[in-house]
């Protein structure tokens, strides 16, 4: 991907999560869609305020788990019935109770791995660079005690001057322009 240039967005800094949630909710109501909240700890209201949406992680986890279970069960069946049929204490070669435990373990394993990798993929991780790291106040505050709202330049409503005054209407500590 070629390096982007220009403005990534406008970053408003708040002191409390309440101020952030109020600003985010208002911005979403005013039609902003390319916006994001950055907080030092999870705030579910912030996610709801900017249009909380479901993602595909649960579905991928379910499919991964089912596939893992089915794969192991099929493998065991193939081994015991077709590849190496062994008479074990006179039991039928297809002895499903004995297959359950490994199949179950693989269900858990594949569900876990699917959830983890799906989460990383949907988050576009690993990412070595993010434009917001250009803002010094973001670097200092985002992981400690400050709450940020970013209106991104990709939003059709974005206008450097008007959007700045719009954000200043929320009485943030500061509004900074972030470059790519």
């Amino acid at each position: 991907m070629p390096a982007r240039e220009g403005t990534y967005g406008l970053l408003a800094e708040f002191d409390t999560p309440g101020d952030l949630v109020r600003a985010a909710r208002q911005a979403y109501q005013d039609g902003w869609r390319r916006l994001d909240c950055y907080t030092p700890y999870p705030i579910e209201e912030a996610a709801e305020a900017i249009g909380f949406h479901r993602n595909k992680v649960p579905l991928v986890t379910l499919i991964g788990g089912l596939m893992g279970g089915a794969a192991m069960f099929a493998l065991e069946t193939w081994i015991s019935v077709l590849a190496y049929p062994i008479n074990s204490a006179g039991r039928p070669t297809y002895s499903w109770p004995a297959f359950i435990v490994p199949a179950y373990e693989w269900t858990i394993l594949w569900a876990g791995l699917s959830a983890g990798f799906c989460m990383l993929a949907l988050n576009h991780l690993p990412a070595l660079y993010h434009p917001l790291f250009n803002a010094p106040n973001f670097r200092d505050g985002a992981t400690t005690d400050k709450f940020f709202l970013c209106l991104e330049a990709l939003d059709p409503k974005f206008d450097l001057v008007q959007s700045r005054s719009y954000l200043e209407g929320f009485k943030p500590l500061s509004v900074v322009e972030v470059e790519y």
Binding site: P17, G18, R22, I43, E45, A89, P97
Partner: protein, 435 residues
Amino acid sequence: MAHDSHASSHAKQLPVELGAPAFVDGWRNRALLIGVIFSVIAVILAFLAQAVDPEHLGWAHFLRAWTLGLTLTWGFSIGGLTMLMVQYCSGGKWGLLLRRPLEAMSRTWPLIVLYFLVVAIFVKRLYLWAKISDPEAALRSHLISEIQAHCIAFKRPMLNIGAFWWVSLLCFAIWAFYAIRLNALGLKRDTQGPETIPYWIKKFENISGLGILIYSITMTACAIYWVMSMDVTWFSTVYGLLYLVEQGFQVLAFAIIVVLSLSKAEPFKTILRQTEQHDLGKLTFAFVMLNIYLAFGQFLIIWSGNLPLEINWYLDRIRGGWGVIITLDFIFHWLVPFTLLLSRNLKRNKRRLVLVCQFMIFAVAFNLFWLIEPNFKDAARNLHFSWGILEYIAVPVAMTAFWVAYFCRQLKARPLVAVNDPHLAEILEPEHAIA
């Protein structure tokens, strides 16, 4: 969320009136009515089955179904007592939420004693080891098999009528002690100020920690005497643990139903948050998993061993039509609650969560039917219809209904919210803190 989140930065106010809402009396009356109706049905069925069924086992089925009812309501009552002790040890907001309903469940123990007395009085009609006083003679007259004769003679020091009575009554005495003590202290705690909280937390932890240990032993003893000993030849070391998990399963399901139904009015309308409802759903899910883990583990070990001593217990419950019941048991008891409780949306939806919990209680009773009925010679490997078998619906429904009525009475007896607890402030806060 309300638009004016300025206001939501303040905690909600606990209502002044903390008593149970008036509709609990309505529940009680409805439960009493159902109890009376099903009692009448149960008696009619017993007479009918005695007269019409070829085996003439009407009253025998009545007693077997009574054991099911006893085990089920015992699970609610003593299981409730144990969950009360667990939440005292673990802490947590879910515990504060459930505390008063669990206390009310634990205070129903006198009714369980009453239910038990019926089993104890008719012990000779329910248990082979009680009926057969001379195994040698019974073997010669082909009443029992050789292995049964051996087991009855060998297990006589434990499986005799005196021990049955005394062990059960001792267990009841211990549970009653814990129920009375915890309930009395629970009320006393609320009369004192917040400065006493550290003292009370320690105090309840100390009582409950030992109580949980003693419960697991006494509960195992009663599960063995009341249900497992119906088949004298069989034993399983995980049996007590299975009942323990089953009690957690049914107690949480029942407690969720109670709490969500109470939330239609104050004070639960104020203190029940979606967060804790979700937590309770997750905890219930854990018990669903633990239950199938133990139940399948027991099956897998016995299936792998394939010993004539052990495997017959399962064959009695799989062959001759019982395969349908064990399959349905698997579906009702694990597959349905597991798949439904996986859903985050369902756990956060009051109406649907209540429906799942009601179904789970039905599944517990269904599982007990599968455990109890094949113990008897006429039913082992031979599932067949008789009028008597319908007692398994009538008697437990009546007994559970009377238990629910008694529970509702206990629920009204004291305020629904324990106030002298640090979690109370947290539970009154908005769902997610906004500074």
